[in-house]
């Protein structure tokens, strides 16, 4: 029984410790990666890569938007 308790305690200590160590390393690795990326591969400008923004305009009642939306929807639909 004591043995079980000590197993549980050591699981807690090492488990929590490891989670913190791992996520701390991830914080650093992520920060380092972000810096590298921003330095060596800066984004020209955030472009709307997909047709979703057009689709999002669907509620607007203009006729032209409607056609654009349609085309986008049908296009994406066909891809499926």
């Amino acid at each position: 029984m004591d043995n079980l308790m000590s197993e549980g305690l050591s699981l807690m200590v090492f488990g929590m410790g490891f989670v913190f160590v791992f996520l701390t390393l991830l914080v650093f690795a992520t920060g380092f990666m972000s810096k590298l990326v921003t330095k060596f591969a800066p984004e020209a400008k955030p472009q709307p890569a997909k047709p979703q923004p057009a689709v999002a305009a669907a509620a607007s009642p203009g006729n032209d938007e409607l056609v654009a939306v349609m085309t986008a929807a049908v296009h994406q639909f066909r891809k499926h």
Binding site: L4, G8, L11, F20, V27, T30, V37, E43
Partner: protein, 433 residues
């Protein structure tokens, strides 16, 4: 007239046990909670329905061929099985025990004996074998979740990973709880059981199912039901704890807007995470590997059709089978046990402790940074329960300050919690698996 008698003797009414009635009612309750109360319906509808099917008397849908042979085969079959299992007793309970304890070759001999007499695995048992015992279904769900996850908020504020780490304390505190109950003689959990129960506090369904299938398959039903139920109850469990641990002023803290994250950063993140897993904790590689793979498919922009399928057709198919398979573990003899009550109790405590630790960690980080950059309300999102916990943070934030939209800020610790509990799962598999 013989036939009529046969029908009656084989009918559900004649054979039903009180346990089965009770479990069918539990299944109906889960359906009610899912459909009317909107408790994680995508999982609880299949789980509840599977639970009802698993408890249909005499149908044996959740039983293996050998279990069906033991139950329905009569004395001669039991004799044959006891011979195959190299035991001397033909008592059903003894045969069942020997079957579960048998080594692989003996196990196969028993299966052959059952098959030779026309007994087969029940449908749900087959689903369980393919979907969960193989480990495939939780991993594929995790891949789909990865493909649905936007790490942007986390990348914009990587420090929120600490909140995701702190909230995992709920997991390990629960392990201690389970171990204590055993030490006190109230329950009877092994360290494997305790670890599997603890992972409920991870507030992440597929991780809980994956760990339970490896460490404590008998408790899987109760663990999965507890995990999904408490995830649905997050809007009720968390707010009082969050209010108790924060001041009005803290809840009003406004956070600076998140910076824009470039596509390249989003592509690199799953790769960085995978490499860190590879270097530090290989036991978390299946879970986090599939998660990172799903996320890379999402972000890389060149395999949109695969990403779409991972997020839709594939995850839906797997969810159906996963749910029914979990339901197959809701059979009366496995679920109706004092242990289940213990699991339900420990699970809610795990959620509570995780929530509290997340909030407290945020306050500690504010202290250490000497500023007020983090609203402690987003700490509770570190338990995961994506995206429910983040919405709860947002809601409480708006209550304190109607201009304070915390949703995006809370998504950081929220997805960090997913990573955190997968890491915790890896540690547990490593140490007690």
């Amino acid at each position: 007239m013989d036939k009529l008698l046969d029908l009656w003797l084989a009918s559900g009414i004649y054979n039903v046990t009180p346990g089965q009635v009770f479990m069918i009612l539990i299944g109906l309750l889960l359906l009610f909670l899912a459909i009317r109360k909107n408790f994680e319906p995508l999982l609880l509808v299949p789980i509840g329905f599977g639970g009802i099917m698993a408890n249909i008397p005499e149908a044996g849908l959740a039983m293996s061929a050998v279990e069906n042979a033991i139950h329905l085969g009569g004395p001669e079959m039991l004799q044959t099985l006891s011979a195959a299992l190299n035991i001397n007793s033909a008592d059903p309970a003894v045969v069942t025990h020997a079957y579960h304890a048998a080594d692989a070759a003996t196990h196969t001999a028993a299966v052959y004996a059952a098959n030779d007499h026309g007994f087969n695995n029940g449908m749900l048992y087959n689903f369980y074998t393919v979907a969960i015992a193989s480990g495939a279904a939780p991993l594929l769900i995790f891949m789909g979740v990865g493909a649905m996850t936007d790490f942007g908020p986390l990348l914009a504020n990587p420090k929120t990973l600490f909140l995701g780490a702190a909230a995992q304390f709920g997991i390990f505190a629960t392990v201690i709880g389970a171990v204590s109950l055993t030490t006190l003689g109230i329950m009877d959990f092994t360290i494997q059981d305790a670890a599997a129960i603890g992972i409920i506090g991870g507030a992440d369904g597929p991780t809980a199912i994956y760990v339970a299938s490896l460490l404590a398959p008998d408790l899987l039903g109760a663990i999965a039901v507890a995990a999904y139920s408490y995830m649905a109850l997050v809007p009720m469990i968390q707010p009082p704890i969050m209010r108790a641990l924060t001041t009005e002023a803290e809840r009003k803290i406004a956070m600076v807007q998140l910076r824009h994250i470039s596509k390249a950063e989003k592509i690199m993140f799953p790769i960085v995470l995978l490499i860190l897993v590879a270097l530090l904790l290989p036991d978390a590689a299946p879970l986090l590997g599939m998660f990172c793979f799903g996320n890379l498919m999402r972000e890389c922009g060149v395999v949109d059709r695969l990403s779409d399928t991972a997020q839709n057709a594939l995850i839906n198919i797997v969810t159906i089978f996963l749910g029914l398979s979990v339901g197959s573990k809701l059979s009366a003899d496995k679920f109706l046990d004092l242990q289940t009550l213990g699991i339900l109790l420990l699970g809610v405590i795990a959620f509570g402790i995780g929530t509290a630790c997340g909030v407290l960690m945020a306050k500690v980080m504010n202290k250490m940074a000497g500023g007020n950059s983090i609203n402690p309300l987003i700490g509770s999102a570190g338990v995961s329960a994506v995206p429910m916990a983040a919405r709860v943070s947002n809601k409480l934030g708006l209550e304190a300050n109607s201009q304070n939209f915390l949703l995006m800020h809370a998504m950081g610790p929220n997805v960090a919690g997913v990573i955190g509990s997968a890491v915790a799962a890896g540690v547990m598999i490593k140490f007690v698996g």
